[in-house]
Symmetry: C2
Subunit: 168 residues, 2 copies
């Protein structure tokens, strides 16, 4: 069954999840952040079925997060390398990792530590305001219609109520 597409919703969360609404997709990308580039390495690292991996790699290439670079001819074989768009997704992965560390770790502690080589400390991601650099929370932010919000939706009373009424 074809699932609902969120690619055209006026919401960047929906559009992003339309790409990542499958647990394998970010995990394949995670492998790229570990420096893995080859089909067989990624397949062994994740224990993923070959057809599933081929499918997710094709999606990530089509969407421009990975690009194929031939490393051998006859037969041609490819490395899968992060693009700028793919590399920029690291922040989302790091934010997810921090939340999972806080809420899903068992008594043994966090499974993986994120070491920040630049400052020399084991650290965690923190999500802050790009303007004032204070942590962003649900209670001190509000969603507003942006320039790309569709006019036909903007006039609807239920949509106006949504943007007026937020108080999580």
């Amino acid at each position: 069954m074809k699932r609902t597409s969120f690619a055209k919703w006026p919401c960047s969360v929906a559009r992003t999840m339309d790409l990542f609404g499958d647990a394998w997709t970010p995990l394949v990308l995670r492998e790229a952040f570990y420096g893995l580039r080859r089909f067989d390495e990624i397949q062994a690292g994740l224990g993923i079925a070959r057809n599933t991996l081929a499918d997710r790699l094709r999606l990530l290439v089509e969407e421009g997060l990975l690009e194929k670079q031939p490393y051998q001819s006859e037969p041609v074989r490819y490395d899968y390398v992060l693009t700028d768009k793919g590399r920029d997704f690291f922040g989302v992965i790091a934010a997810m990792m921090a939340w999972g560390d806080r809420w899903l770790a068992d008594e043994a502690g966090v499974p993986i530590a994120l070491h920040h080589e630049r400052c020399g400390h084991d650290t965690q991601a923190e999500v802050v305001c790009a303007h004032c650099h204070e942590p962003l929370t649900a209670s001190d932010t509000a969603m507003r219609m942006g320039p790309g919000y569709p006019e036909r939706l903007a006039a609807r009373p239920d949509v106006q109520a949504r943007f007026a009424g937020r108080s999580a």
Copy 2:
């Protein structure tokens, strides 16, 4: 078909995606961040099938991101309210929104603006190091085994290579 479970993998990204490896789940949570609490409001807002919504709400309650608070008896009806664990997921949503705004917006511009009431500016999420507060990028971080990494895996040569070799 039951999909692969990632809940016990030694990786907070995998564990988090085990919860969110479905596009509807974070979108239901998004509705909670807009302040929506009632089944019918959320159903109308997302245009989601009732059985799908019931399923995702049950998951979010079971996993402790939402809690049910009765607002009426005979018949009993519930509000779905964010817990601390659910509210804390806002950072991940905000990081996703920023990435989607940068890479998935069309010429019209971003669909929704995030307004930071605390500083008074329309802003974007930025993912920084909790220690030095500089932006976290793939190239200046390294993954290391944490205290919760399983010993039986830690000894494997392929796992050691993974943690030694990362260079994305």
